[in-house]
């Protein structure tokens, strides 16, 4: 894992001091709210429904046990004992006081973390594949590039006042777990016939009010050109992105309005025009960073673990958890453990301070001291020996962290919605809870199989509803909450935006509607066919008929 050197430490410390000073000026009245708002937002501090909310970056989703413990400490000391892990690999605290915020940032800095650029019209926390460095299908670990981009984008003087927020996602595997096609810039690694690696650069994806899948502007950008090329993209966007209407200000609108070809030629012209400094420094920096991400010392183990196989036979609940929540590791004898933060009827993505400590502890004892936050609001222990899985499972079970629903109907993504969010039009958490209860029966969930249900509490789409196999969007109709259902979205390598099925539903009707949709799927599916495939084969018709058939 990356460790700060003296430069990184000093950089974050100075930034934290700067924010302490700004906060004092605000509290004393030397700064007006209009002057202060952008400054606090640049440090991740929002004003929400109940109090201030602090969003902390977890760069490329990677944490050490010590960092996770500190997140728990912050939750217990300055918040109400819990935090909310988000789809952007961040954690949000919902009850923060302005006067405490500088102390919290100090506590974060002590463990090499910060909240810089988790808000504002700047380059946000760079996200990656949560299985990075562990996945069996990976070409190379994308996190060194993630760290390079974190540094490059931190307080970038040219790109801190863009037309709108800017999100970059990076994946090093062909199977896209980082949703790179629905980000402002998505980077996807490829290997050519000569065995060299290069980045596919995808621009102009995004969700929100105008969901779009991004377009590829370079198929195979050599790694050392990455920073220079990204600067060219950013400059074109900064100069020509729309600033007259914030709903049309994302880069996707620019790409769409001037056309992908024109956009690409603007970027190439800018790239050619700029003086090309030697990229030697970037290459050496990347090599320096990459050394931190050297894989842990894996033991040489047989592929089959007898104790693991026996434990599964003896303990059916463990067997089910193992079937659903483990991912294939690239080293024999190891597995990726996906800890679901979606207990039945729970709040998706929430974890208490105690739970965070349990996970930190397990990472330290059994997982090479590494944790990941996934964009599906779950936590990952990327390197666990199969021999240790039962012990890990039992500890998780005690902490109410052993929900065996990873990737299933109960593994719902939900944004905070109207229960916390000042922009919401409807609640999302209670809807997630009612669906989760409806499918509490594990047999039913297993039968339905892989499914992504995503819920947002307003059109901003923080809950990724457009790319859920089943998406649910909460809206406000004359003061009443109601919910629109979309089908057929995906954020994977075959990304697609879901289609609205028909008229919306009241909150209490949603879970039944989802059940009808899934029963229809079970009726029509071919052997081994996942929900998304069935939907793509049949289209919306049978689902519509089942849902809106007059009783």
């Amino acid at each position: 894992m990356y460790r700060y050197d003296e430069f990184d430490h000093q950089f974050v410390r100075e930034r934290t001091d700067q924010f302490r000073n700004q906060t004092e000026r605000r509290l004393s009245g030397a700064l007006t709210e209009d002057e202060f708002r952008p400054l606090r937002l640049m440090n991740g501090l929002y004003l929400q429904l109940h109090a201030y909310m602090l969003r902390v970056a977890i760069p490329y989703g990677t944490l050490s046990g010590r960092q996770m413990r500190q997140l728990a400490y912050i939750a217990d000391t300055w918040d109400k004992g819990y935090g909310h892990f988000t789809t952007r690999q961040n954690i949000q605290y919902n009850w923060v006081k302005l006067e405490d915020a500088p102390d919290i940032l100090d506590a974060l800095a002590a463990v090499e973390m910060h909240a810089i650029q988790t808000s504002g019209n700047c380059i946000r926390n760079v996200t990656t594949d949560h299985w990075a460095g562990a996945a069996a299908d990976e070409i190379a670990d994308p996190r060194p590039v993630g760290e390079l981009l974190r540094q490059w984008s931190s307080l970038h003087p040219e790109f801190s006042f863009l037309p709108r927020k800017f999100k970059i996602a990076v994946t090093g595997a062909p199977h896209d777990r980082a949703a790179v096609k629905v980000h402002d810039i998505g980077l996807r690694l490829h290997k050519n016939d000569a065995g060299e690696i290069g980045w596919e650069v995808i621009v102009g994806g995004g969700l929100g009010r105008t969901p779009m899948v991004g377009v590829t502007v370079r198929d195979f950008l050599p790694q050392h050109e990455l920073i220079g090329y990204l600067e060219a993209i950013m400059r074109v966007y900064n100069l020509y992105g729309r600033r007259d209407n914030k709903y049309k200000a994302r880069i996707k609108i620019l790409v769409h309005e001037i056309g992908a070809d024109k956009f690409k030629s603007e970027v190439e012209a800018e790239y050619a025009r700029r003086p090309h400094p030697t990229t030697e420094v970037e290459e050496r920096e990347l090599a320096r960073i990459a050394a931190y991400f050297a894989p842990p010392d894996f033991e040489k183990l047989p592929r089959w673990s007898a104790s693991f196989e026996e434990a599964k036979l003896a303990n059916p609940a463990f067997a089910r958890w193992a079937r659903n929540n483990l991912g294939p590791h690239h080293v024999d004898g190891y597995a990726i453990v996906n800890i679901s933060l979606k207990p039945e009827g729970g709040i998706p993505g929430d974890a208490t301070g105690d739970q965070m400590r349990v996970m930190a502890d397990l990472a330290e004892r059994f997982g090479s001291d590494e944790l990941r936050v996934s964009h599906a609001q779950n936590i990952v222990l990327p390197h666990v020996k199969k021999d240790d899985l039962l012990t890990v499972y039992q500890a998780l079970e005690k902490a109410d962290l052993a929900a065996a629903n990873y990737g299933l109907a109960g593994d719902i993504i939900a944004c905070p919605g109207l229960d916390y969010c000042a922009l919401a039009t409807a609640r999302s958490i209670p809807v997630a809870q009612s669906i989760s209860r409806k499918f509490a029966d594990s047999k039913k969930q297993d039968e339905i199989g892989k499914l992504k249900i995503n819920i947002s509490g307003c059109i901003n789409a923080c809950g990724h509803h457009h790319v859920g196999h089943i998406g649910i969007l909460g809206l406000d109709k004359k003061g009443e909450e109601f919910y629109q259902i979309t089908l057929g979205g995906s954020s994977a390598e075959n990304a697609s935006i879901g289609t609205i099925l028909g008229p919306g539903f009241a909150g209490h009707e949603v879970a039944d509607a989802i059940e009808t949709i899934l029963d229809t799927y079970l009726k029509h599916r071919e052997a081994g066919e996942e929900f998304l495939a069935t939907y793509r084969r049949l289209g919306p018709k049978p689902f519509k008929e089942a849902l809106y058939a007059t009783a």
Binding site: G29, L47, H50, D419, Y420, G479
Partner: protein, 113 residues
């Protein structure tokens, strides 16, 4: 039963901790919505808002605005669910927020789960 009085109150967030507060008759800010002063006419509402703007300048509160509300037997309820949420706390964590601190007033909690 009498019918509720309809009007507007001023709400804001307290600057130093961000907690949602309501302007009272005495010109203070209370966390309890029942203590809010209700303006029954637009003119009175404008006067309340002006007072809130002063307190923004004095860095007591921030982001003040008017919301529709009604009062019945000394209890105040905001018209929109969003505002009831602010007056009570999250519907999914009844153990948190004003509803859990004995400050959750208003009549009838938001109908939730």
């Amino acid at each position: 039963m009498t019918t509720p009085e309809k009007g507007q109150l001023v709400t804001a967030n307290r600057l130093r901790d961000g907690i949602a507060v309501f302007l009272t008759r005495g010109g203070d800010w209370s966390e309890v919505i029942d203590e809010a002063v209700l303006a029954l006419e637009p003119q009175a509402a404008a006067a309340l808002e002006a007072r809130a703007r002063d307190d923004e300048k004095k860095t007591i509160v921030t982001g003040a605005y008017l919301v529709d509300a009604e009062r019945l037997e000394g209890r105040v309820r905001a018209a929109h669910i969003r505002e009831r949420m602010r007056a009570l706390g999250p519907t999914v964590r009844l153990d948190l927020g004003k509803q859990a601190e004995g400050k959750g007033a208003g009549f009838a909690a938001p109908e939730g789960e």
